[in-house]
């Protein structure tokens, strides 16, 4: 794929993902999720944890591609990163923040419930995230838990409601001047 095509796609709301047989393709995060496209920055375990977190924060976020969205933005230069974290004054690079927080989340899950976050029941997941949101996890070992809650929650909102399709779900007219070419 030509660099110009990649850049044009990026401007339209697509992410570049590696595809089987080599090369790159432009997809939405949801399309990348549906096609099981590989990840660039996040490990398989981190993806599982992030998707589980996304489902607790805003059900539907996993299917809408929260993990591919975050992964693609962590792979980008920090000045091009589209994650809300860039507004929250956490110094770049951003990948260590997500990796540290996902590890911390699994860590507190193990210490409290004896299993990783993705294996928790819905009630256990909600209990843990509620405590995370207010910084009430004394055994949290990572960047500030409430900051991660805010960032990951925004990532979930972005992929579920921040897209053209997301606006439709809410009945809100998108009214774009320059519309993203695909549903997001």
């Amino acid at each position: 794929m030509e660099r110009r095509t990649l850049l044009k796609g990026a401007g339209a709301g697509l992410i570049a993902v590696a595809v089987a047989g080599g090369g790159m393709a432009m997809m939405t995060p949801a399309q990348a999720k549906a096609k099981s496209a590989p990840y660039s920055v996040l490990t398989a375990n981190e993806v599982v944890t992030l998707e589980a977190l996304g489902e607790v924060l805003l059900p539907g976020a996993a299917a809408e591609g929260i993990a591919h969205f975050v992964d693609s933005q962590l792979a980008a230069p920090s000045a091009d990163c589209l994650l809300i974290l860039r507004y929250l004054e956490w110094p770049a690079p951003y990948a260590p923040f997500y990796k540290g927080c996902l590890a911390a989340l699994d860590g507190v899950s193990q210490s409290r419930f004896g299993k990783p976050f993705a294996k928790l029941s819905p009630a256990q997941g909600e209990e843990l995230i509620g405590a995370m949101s207010t910084g009430q996890l004394a055994d949290w070992k990572g960047p500030p838990a409430p900051l991660f809650y805010m960032a990951a929650r925004s990532d979930a909102v972005d992929v579920v409601y921040g897209t053209v399709e997301g606006f439709k779900k809410l009945g809100v007219p998108y009214m774009a001047h320059i519309e993203p070419e695909t549903p997001w």
Binding site: G11, V56, L88, S154, G162, L170, V172, I178, P180
Partner: protein
């Protein structure tokens, strides 16, 4: 057209920063026949970059070296600032009220802060001139707090449902409202189209309705021959043997170290990066930093305090319609000594259009909700929300300042360290408004009301203009007291901030300054 960086001889003028002030200065100087090069560290945005999406809008915000933030109210730097062609004005909300006469005389009238070296009456013709060139919509008669000035050339925006709702609350409390003065067109102007009321201002307006530099002075400057070089980071202001500005050192888009000689150097790199550059340029003859014989460079940084109010009403509010900046304003309660224990002016900005996501979106207004409760809120409550904000005047305190951090950027230049804490007098204004704002929303019929934490916006001060080298960094034309061919333009010149979005005043002050520079060119470059 944005040309690639290339070696070359000196120029008449080098401008650092392609935001509102830098673009306006470039246009005027190019029109006067000067050779102008603008060095901008960020990307070469075009109107086609302005995709309607709160997610993609984030790339327009600051992407340069980290600013180390400190203090009790750390400045909301990353969201407030811009980078690339257009600067922060590329994503600004175009609330363009004028400062009031008393804002220019704070020290004389109240014994607070500082006086400006110019009065409102001296600046008024420049407000009027810019207003005519840009096109501002509003209703001067209804805006009873507005100081004397030319009437608006564009009709006001229609009043949208959430504004009608909230206005009833103001009326019930005996407060007046008026259409917001906006640098957004309601009628065609030249090749610029009127607004479609779709609320994508924060993502950058590509239609020309909102007066961002890409559709106003940057466009004019390019047409008149100014060169805009993006991806070029200025690392130093160079002085000659007489202490005058000789030009700048910069790293070009290819990463090569370069210098550019210029007869005049204009720093318009924001109220944060300009003092950083001055301080980082310290050397023989300027041991405390360039233009810093007063020791004041970096001191007196200001940012407005803001807080938001959201109310849920019985009926849909069509809150997706309008503009990011607000549909109506109320400046009743403007009097600076009105609140016991407080000091400063206040402005209500009513009925900003809302989007579902982002830091200022609907979902983020209730950060306590997640899971199915968040879905229910977004589905059932969000359409019935009406929103307003209040903006508060800060005080210029010397302890609020930009310094050099111990950390350095990729080019070895110390990063900026920004310390900011609102004065107790400002916090008293906020507490007063929180009570009043909730009462207004309830009087309007809100079934539930909640407020946001205090945030800060608009980078101002730090290189104030004044009447004397002892208490300021520049004269009223932005000319540094230390070097007659080194100028500072932009919000950093503000000695005080008032309670008004600053972009209109930045334009007026810049226009006055650059026209004076053109008129006195020989003296400046002698």
């Amino acid at each position: 057209m944005v040309e690639p960086s290339r070696p070359g001889a000196g120029v008449d003028v080098v401008i650092v920063g392609a935001g509102a002030a830098g673009s306006l200065a470039a246009a005027r100087l190019a029109a006067a026949g000067k050779s102008v090069t603008v060095l901008e560290s960020g990307p070469a945005w075009t109107v086609q970059s302005l995709v309607s999406s709160q997610i993609w809008a984030r790339r327009l915000k600051w992407g340069g070296p980290r600013v180390v933030l400190d203090g009790a109210n750390p400045f909301g730097h990353s969201m407030a600032m811009g980078w690339g062609l257009g600067g922060a004005a590329l994503h600004h909300y175009a609330n363009w009220p004028r400062l009031r006469p008393e804002d220019f005389r704070l020290k004389t009238l109240y014994g607070r802060g500082a006086d400006w070296p110019i009065s409102y009456e001296e600046l008024r013709p420049w407000y009027d001139l810019i207003q005519g060139e840009i096109g501002i919509s509003g209703d001067a008669e209804a805006e009873v707090w507005r100081p004397p000035g030319a009437p608006y050339s564009q009709p006001p925006f229609p009043t949208f449902p959430q504004a009608e709702t909230i206005a009833k609350g103001f009326a019930a409390r005996g407060l007046r409202t008026a259409p917001a003065p906006l640098a957004i067109l309601t009628e065609p102007k030249g090749d610029r189209a009127p607004c479609l009321f779709d609320g994508w201002c924060d993502a950058g307006c590509p239609t020309g309705a909102l007066a961002n530099p890409l559709v106003t002075y940057q466009k004019d400057a390019v047409r008149l021959g100014a060169r805009f070089l993006s991806g070029c980071t200025v690392t130093r202001v160079n002085l000659d043997g007489r202490g005058r500005a000789a030009g700048v050192a910069f790293v070009d888009a290819k990463g090569e170290q370069r210098t550019l000689e210029a007869a005049v150097v204009i720093l318009a790199a924001s109220a944060i990066q300009t003092p950083r550059l001055l301080l980082a340029s310290a050397g023989p003859g300027a041991e405390r930093g360039v233009a810093n014989s007063s020791g004041l460079v970096g001191q007196g940084f200001m940012a407005h305090a803001l807080t938001s109010f959201m109310g849920i009403f019985d009926t849909p509010q069509d809150n997706h319609l309008g503009v990011s900046g607000g549909n109506l304003v109320c400046r009743d309660g403007w009097e600076k000594t009105r609140v016991p224990g407080g000091f400063g002016s206040r402005e209500w900005v009513i009925a900003s259009s809302l989007k579902p996501n982002d830091l200022i979106g609907i979902a983020m207004s209730r950060p306590d909700l997640f899971g199915q409760r968040l879905h229910a809120f977004m589905r059932d409550d969000a359409p019935r929300i009406a929103h307003m904000g209040a903006l508060f005047e800060p005080l210029p305190l010397p302890q609020n300042r930009i310094e050099l951090a111990t950390q350095k950027d990729a080019y070895g230049v110390p990063m900026a360290r920004l310390t900011y804490a609102l004065a107790p007098e400002t916090l008293a204004l906020v507490e007063d408004a929180k009570i009043e704002g909730v009462a207004i929303m309830k009087a309007a019929g809100a079934k539930a009301v909640w407020t946001s934490p205090i945030v800060t916006n608009h980078a101002l001060g730090g290189t104030p203009m004044g009447s004397s080298p002892a208490d300021s960094v520049t004269d009223s034309y932005g000319r540094t007291w230390d070097a007659p061919n080194l100028f500072i333009y932009g919000g950093g010149l503000f000695p005080t901030a008032g309670a008004a979005g600053p972009t209109f005043t930045i334009h007026a002050v810049t226009r006055r300054a650059v026209d004076h520079l053109i008129d006195t060119w020989k003296a400046a470059t002698a």
